[in-house]
Amino acid sequence: MNAALSIEALKLYRAPAARVATAVLVLVLPAVSAAMVAVARSDSDSPLVAKARPMLIGTGWDAYLGMLAEIVSVATLLAVGIVLSWVVGREFTEGTVGALLALPTSPRQVLRAKLVVTLIWALGCGLVATLVAIPGGLAIGLGAPDAGALRATGRLLVVSGLMTLLALPLAWVSTVLRGYLSGISTLLGIVVITQIVTAAGAGGWFPYAAPSLWAGMGGADAAAAITPVQLLLAVPVGLAGAWAAMHRWQTAELV
């Protein structure tokens, strides 16, 4: 591992924000999903059960992992967005960005290390959350995972990966606006706009909404209407954000 990668990995490993986000992504989300499915599958006719049942699409493992994918789609953008904004923006907020310049390790390499470390962490959280979900499903009595479980697992991992990519432009925002709070407030703005665009019926072509809709957030019909092209819009958006951030770190006056 090169120097910038190992240093950024150590900084992220020690960061309280990353630890909290990790716990939420890999433990809280599967637990909440399992609890909601358990409630929906119960024989009770309580108001909670009545609300939980319509949120499930399909049955068994498919419904359970689908529910997890819905929650993961929102939580991943929020968690990765906050962590990435901090990872990049802290250098400006804390004034350490100047110490990262005029080094044999170029600013572009430093920023790339930040992006790579955050990506690996986020994708790892998605994978671990999926693994943690398996004993959760067994615990609520879903039985042995079936073919539907495999399909739903793939969808869950794709959603996690796409939402991670969609957080990358926040590295550019935190750089241009020189601080992590700017990135976090932009993230909140993205969430609000996503809600509005989705409510207006145009969510399929809005990169930040498509993965959630595909996961089932808008119901079974909306999920089926999402095309691969709409989903893959996340890739150019993420890569463009990463490229813009790296370009700015290499060429702009950062101090």
Partner: protein
């Protein structure tokens, strides 16, 4: 003692590590530097003194390529020929150390991890970084805090860690912006000795400070910067440097017809009012 090369006719000429020529830089309508010529030789400590806002930090950032000049040129030479610091090759930066305002410290890392990280980013491999970290922690008397997280350090010790990061790779060119900020008297003496030793080993050290007495003890040359211009030089061995400094500054202020004096020159501690 400055390093020098033998020129034609047996004359010795200093090895220039850093040179600025006519460097100017503005921020909006504020002219931070207005045509500064400066050079820095191997084996010398060259002090930049000036009031707040004189342009010292801007000049140092320009020297390190962190800012781009509006006019003029900056050249850094670590032995491979002079290069523009903007876009300089990574090999150049492997021989440059700097501490400009905020030190390279992260609250979640220990002092040893911080200095080792700085060494790695400066191009040292793991083994060399470990050895250099141990050496510099001892030289700057930071061993006691080596395993402490940076968040637990005093401001002065964080500054010393920042200095350790700047020098851990034994650079040929050192650019230090007020390195003794927040240090206690023992820390000031320790850093001063370290800078003198570094110059004796051949390093070129550009250092800024408000403290003339401190600079007089360590610098081979003192350049006075005011309102983004070089007013002249002071002889570190000269008498009453503070009076010489303020005479220079007030002469410049008087020459700027109608220009209001900076607020800090009208404080009750001003030598003009105290004289």
């Amino acid at each position: 003692m400055s390093a020098a090369v033998v020129a034609g006719g047996g004359r010795t000429e200093p090895v220039v590590r850093l040179a600025t020529s006519g460097v100017a830089r503005s921020f909006g309508t504020e002219q931070a530097l207005a045509g500064v010529d400066l050079d820095l030789h191997a084996g010398e400590v060259h002090a930049l003194v000036g009031l707040n806002g004189a342009g010292k930090t801007t000049l140092m950032r320009l020297a390190l390529g962190m800012l781009h000049p509006d006019a003029g040129t900056v050249r850094v030479d670590v032995g491979d020929g002079p290069v523009d610091p903007v876009g300089a090759p990574s090999a150049t930066w492997g021989h440059v150390g700097h501490l400009i305002e905020t030190p390279f410290t992260y609250p979640e890392l220990t002092v040893r991890e911080t200095v080792r990280s700085a060494a790695r980013l400066r191009g040292l491999d793991r083994t060399a970084a470990d050895a250099a970290t141990t050496r510099v922690l001892a030289e700057l008397a930071l061993d006691h805090w080596a395993e402490r997280r940076a968040r637990t350090l005093s401001l002065g010790n964080r500054q010393r860690v920042g200095l350790a990061c700047a020098v851990v790779h034994d650079p040929k060119v050192l650019v230090l912006d007020e390195p003794s900020n927040a240090l206690d008297p023992a820390g000031v003496v320790r850093v001063r000795r370290w800078l003198a030793d570094a110059a004796d080993r051949g390093a070129a050290v550009l250092v800024s400070s408000h403290h003339l007495d401190e600079m007089a003890r360590v610098a081979h040359r003192i350049t006075v910067l005011h309102r983004g211009r070089v007013l002249g030089t002071l002889d570190p061995a000269g008498a009453d440097l503070e009076r010489q400094f303020f005479d220079m500054v007030y002469e410049e202020e008087d020459a700027v017809d109608g220009a209001p004096a900076p607020a800090h020159t009208t404080t009750p501690t001003s030598p003009r009012s105290a004289a």
